[in-house]
Each structure stands twice: as C-alpha cells, then as structure tokens.
C-alpha cells in the first residue's frame, strides 16, 4: 500500500528554499525558544500526516534505525 509508506526519497519542492526557511524561523531564538518551535513544528506536521503507520516509520527513520520494521 503506497500511501502507508513513508517517503524517504527526495520529495521537497525547492529543497534549498525550505531549508533556508527552516533556519530563518530559528534565527535570533534562544535554545529554549528553538526547542519549543521544533516541538510545535513536529506536532503541526504530524497532524498533517495523520496516519499512525507513517508516523511510526517517521519516528524510526528519525532515530536513524535501519531496516523496514519500526517495531
């Protein structure tokens, strides 16, 4: 089922622009403010994705676990 799979190939539109936006969002923030922003961003994106199976794969991918099974 394709929609149940996390996309791990390049999928960003204008990747460099997105990365610059991400850095800009953190500019002039303290470490605590940046941590809070990252946390809010994770929650906003997670809600957009919605599907638990994909989010589990994303958590495993972010943990740099190898292999398909997020267990």
């Amino acid at each position: 089922m394709i929609e149940e799979d996390l996309i791990l190939t390049a999928n960003l539109e204008q990747a460099d622009d997105f990365y610059a936006d991400l850095l800009a969002a953190h500019e002039n923030l303290s470490k605590d403010e940046s941590d809070a922003l990252n946390a809010r961003l994770v929650l906003v994106l997670a809600n957009h994705i919605g599907k638990r199976a994909i989010l589990k794969q994303a958590l495993a991918a972010a943990a740099l676990k190898t292999g398909e099974d997020s267990a």
Binding site: D35, A36, A39, R40, V42, L43, V44, N47
Partner: protein
C-alpha cells in the same frame, strides 16, 4: 455546613452471630461498606442471596473523595435500583476550560451523544453516593431481602479453606468468629484483607500527592470543569476545580511526591493557595481538606480461591479520568452474576476466573490511560515538558492540538476483547457492539433499552425471529424482541445493526454482549450460552 459524614449511618448493634456457640457460616461476606462493597451486596441481595457487609466504621465517607460518576456506573446503579436519586442530586456539566500558566487556552463543550437515559457523568460527593446505596440496602431489607450491614465490625484475621473462609471480627463488645462461603474484599487501597492474606500489590508506575479541598463559596462560579496546567498559584503542577451539589466546590491541587503532608494540610498553608487560585476577592469557607496519595498498581490476580477482591483493594489508579470508583462498580457488575451462577450450581467455579481475566483487562486499560494523563500533566523529562507545552500553546490557536491535551480521559466501559466468554463475532455490525462490549443504551419510545435488558441473560432480536425463551444448562434466556421501528431516532439501528437489516444478540446479565449473529441459529446460540457461563 454539611455534616452528613458525622452521623452514624449503620451504628453498631449486637448480632445473634456474636452469641452463637459455634461460628455461623454466611453465604457471602463483603468487607467494606464503601461504594463498591455496598454495590456488590445490593447486586447479590437482589438475586436473593444472603449477604453480610462488615465495616470497621459506621459512617459514610469523610469528605467528598470520589466525585465523578460516569454513565456506565450510573446504568449499573439503575440495575441496582438506585440510579435515580444519584442523578437527581448530582451536578451535570458539559463545558470545560483549560488554563495554561496564567491564561485560558481553550474552552470545550462535551456535547454528549444523544439517545442515552443517563448523562455522560455527574458530580456527586462520595458521602451522598454511599448514603443512597445504604438507603437502597434499607429498602431491600424492608422487602425481606437477606442483606445486613454490621457497623464497627473490624475483621482482624482471615483463614482460607477450599470451601469456606473463616473470619475473626472485632466489635466494641469484643471479638467473635464468623464464616463465609465466599468473601468479597472491597476494603480500599490499603486493603487489610490483602495484607492479612500476604498478597502482592505490584506496579507503582507513578506516585503523587494531591491536596483535596471542599470549599463553600459565595462567588457564583459557572458549572464548568476548570483545569490548570502549571498555574502561577501551583507552579509546575496541576489544579482542578469542579462543582458539586449544595454549592460545594471541589479543588484538587497536585503537590508532587516529596512533600511534608502535615505541613501542607495546615489551614495557614492551604488558604493562601486557594485564595490565589480563586481570586483575592472571593470569600470561601473550607469544609474539608485532605491529602490524597496514589500509586498506579494492581494485584496480579483478583481471585484467590474463595476470596475475591474488587475496587481499590484490587487496583489503584491516578485520579485523572475518574477511573477509581467507576471501575470498581464495573468490577462488581462483572463479578456478582458469575458468583450467583456458581453458588446456584449452574456454572463451574472456573467461571470466576473470567472475572480475573476481564477485570484485569479493565484495570490495565485504566492504569494505561491514567498513566498517560499523568505523563502529560507532570512531564518526566525536559523534552516531555517541551512537547507538552507545545501542545498547550498550539491548542490556544489550533483545534487540531486539543485532542492531545490530556487532563484525564474519562472512564468509559471496558470492552472485554478476547474474553473466553465471548463467541466469535458473526455479525458484520458496528464495532461498538462487538462481543465483549457493554451494551450502549438506546431510546425505545417512552423508555430505554438498558432498563429492558435488566440483570438476566437476554436474547435481543432486532427484526429477527427467535424462540421467546431458550433454556440451556439451567440458564433461562428470555427474548427481547425489538424492531428498528421502535426507535424513531435510529440510535438502535446505528448502534446494533449498522447497515444490516436484522441482528440477534446474546446479552449477559451485566449487559455485555456475549455473541451476535444476523439471525437466530439454535445450535450456535446454545453454544454461546454455554461459553458465556464457562462451560465451553
């Protein structure tokens, strides 16, 4: 001021058992006249079983204690003949407000599902709850039911035997011996019964203290639930304000684990905290203050031969979600019909092992939910606090974050998925009424479905044929024949049929679904009945 909890409700009176030359053997003895012990005794007495409740006290609970009673327990109380006074007295609310730090982040309306006789929940002080249960005991006694409460009867020793239990009971006039065929221990989180039998109580997932205060206010606060995360008047902790009957407000302030309880309880320390919470101008009177300590844990088994544990004696959870007394009532709801069948010789003793399986499933669900609430309310690491605060900050602006805010997931009935009493689901119907589920209510003209189910095995047919009575292994199952035409609101159809035209449900005496099929099949339903009483 309300002094209901200072008047003896079941004062000590000498009983003939104390003068008997040899210990008298009673059918069932219940230890503890709290909400759970009283409910168990009423349930059995309604079936005509002799039951004696022993309590070391003679009064209702001191202070409000358990205050939130959910729909399923109210439905159980209807079956026990005392739901109405609770609902009449209780406070109903639908609006809740969530505060974070010094501001309100959002407000919600529960908008409970229509088509149920009982509300999602009511707030009612435990002392009223117990008083109404005792009133029901008195009513049953007047009708000749063999039920009695013995106040100031403290069990000091218990002996277990294959076919009975022996008890040593202390009274103001000295000790006596008593025997019971079955013993139900509902003696609370500190259960002396559990300790006397040297039984485990494992878990300790979480520990915390709460300052609990009943306050009488002159201010006209709305009937809403207010919950604070990390408020200025209780930094790093939570606070809850809930309305109870008689203009009494319940305030719960989380204190953390490592505190000086005696110091925290002193009025000179309590009053400034409450004043900061309620506002400097608000005049209030403290009715009751207590420190409540909890741990999340349960016994490994609730059944130990002829001794059965229920309520807090068997399992303890955090107060978030009101899963204490509410789950205890579901324990006795599950236990009493099984015990009755075993005592009547209609079911094997092993049926009682399904009490263990089903209610441990319930206890684990409650511990999981209340632990998650606790993790949200009291973050255990720096990053879990960052994430928690992110949820709360987002919830102020975006609706999507609000379901993540966890100030307690309110007690809902446990579905006994995988129970050995269930038959395989043979109906492609709604999830919520699969085998193991507690039956959702539905309006039927001028009445409600659950009142018609009662407390015996029922064969519910919706637009399907079946015999009016089936008898199997001494169990009489009566048909309740309904049509979707009986309910103009379509709740019956939506909850029991979904897209199907007909359905037949075998429903247990505790109003949980044992089996369901699109039509009546004699052989299959006889199997299902045997299975539901532990004979298959």
């Amino acid at each position: 001021m309300n002094k209901i909890f200072e008047v003896p409700l079941y004062p000590y009176a000498r009983h003939a058992d104390q003068d008997a030359p040899a210990p008298v053997r009673r059918k069932v003895v219940v230890i503890g006249a709290g909400p759970i012990g009283l409910a168990a005794a009423i349930d059995l007495a309604q079936q005509g079983t002799e039951v004696v409740i022993l309590d070391d006290n003679d009064k209702v609970s001191f202070g409000s204690r358990a205050i939130c009673f959910a729909k399923r327990p109210l439905e159980i109380l209807d079956r026990l003949g005392c739901g109405q006074p609770m609902v009449d007295k209780g406070v109903q609310w639908n609006v809740g407000k969530v505060f974070f730090d010094d501001r309100q982040v959002y407000e919600f309306n529960l908008l409970p599902e229509e088509g149920h006789k009982r509300p999602a929940f009511i707030n009612l002080q435990q002392y009223y709850f117990e008083e109404y249960l005792v009133n029901r005991v008195r009513e049953l006694q007047e009708q000749g039911a063999p039920i009695e409460i013995r106040g100031r009867n403290k069990v000091s020793a218990i002996g277990t035997h294959p076919h009975h239990v022996t008890l040593e009971v202390d009274t103001p006039e000295g000790p006596y011996n008593l025997e019971a065929e079955w013993l139900i221990a509902c003696d609370g989180a500190g259960s002396p019964t559990r300790q006397m039998l040297g039984l485990d109580f494992v878990g300790r997932v979480f520990e915390d203290n709460f300052l609990i205060a009943d306050v009488i206010m002159e201010a006209d606060f709305p009937t809403e639930r207010w919950f604070w995360f990390d408020p200025p008047f209780n930094k790093g902790q939570s606070a809850l304000l809930h309305k109870q009957p008689d203009g009494v407000w319940r305030i719960d302030l989380q204190l953390g684990w490592d505190i000086d309880k005696e110091r925290e309880k002193r009025p000179e320390n309590v009053i400034p905290r409450l004043q900061a919470m309620l506002g400097e101008d608000v005049k209030f009177e403290l009715e009751w203050v207590s420190i409540y300590t909890f741990q999340c844990r349960r016994m490994e088994q609730f059944r130990h031969g002829r001794v059965l544990f229920a309520g807090d004696a068997a399992h303890q959870v955090s107060p978030f979600g009101a899963r204490g007394a509410n789950s205890g009532l579901q324990d006795t709801d599950n236990l009493c019909w099984k015990l009755q069948l075993v005592m009547d010789g209609k079911a094997p003793e092993s049926l009682l092992d399904s009490y263990d399986i089903e209610r441990i499933h319930g206890a684990d669900e409650n511990i999981l939910n209340s632990s998650r609430s606790t993790d949200f309310i009291t973050p255990k690491s720096e990053m879990s606090r960052v994430l928690r605060d992110a949820v709360l900050d987002l919830s102020e602006q975006y609706e999507f974050a609000r379901p993540l805010v966890n100030s307690g997931r309110l007690s809902v009935p446990c579905t006994y998925d995988g129970s050995p009493l269930n038959s395989a689901d043979a109906l492609d119907g709604p999830e919520r009424t699969r085998p193991g589920s507690s039956c959702p209510d539905a309006p039927l003209g001028d009445g409600f479905l659950l009142d018609k189910l009662g407390d015996k095995f029922v064969l519910l047919t919706i637009d399907a044929d079946a015999p009016d009575v089936i008898e199997e292994e001494g169990i009489e199952v009566t048909r309740l024949a309904l049509s979707i035409k009986d309910d103009k609101t379509l709740a019956l159809q939506e909850r029991y049929l979904g897209k199907l035209e007909s359905g037949v449900y075998l429903i247990r005496p505790d109003q949980h679904v044992a089996a369901r099929r699109p039509s009546y099949d004699d052989n299959q339903f006889r199997h299902a009945i045997r299975r539901a009483i532990g004979k298959e």
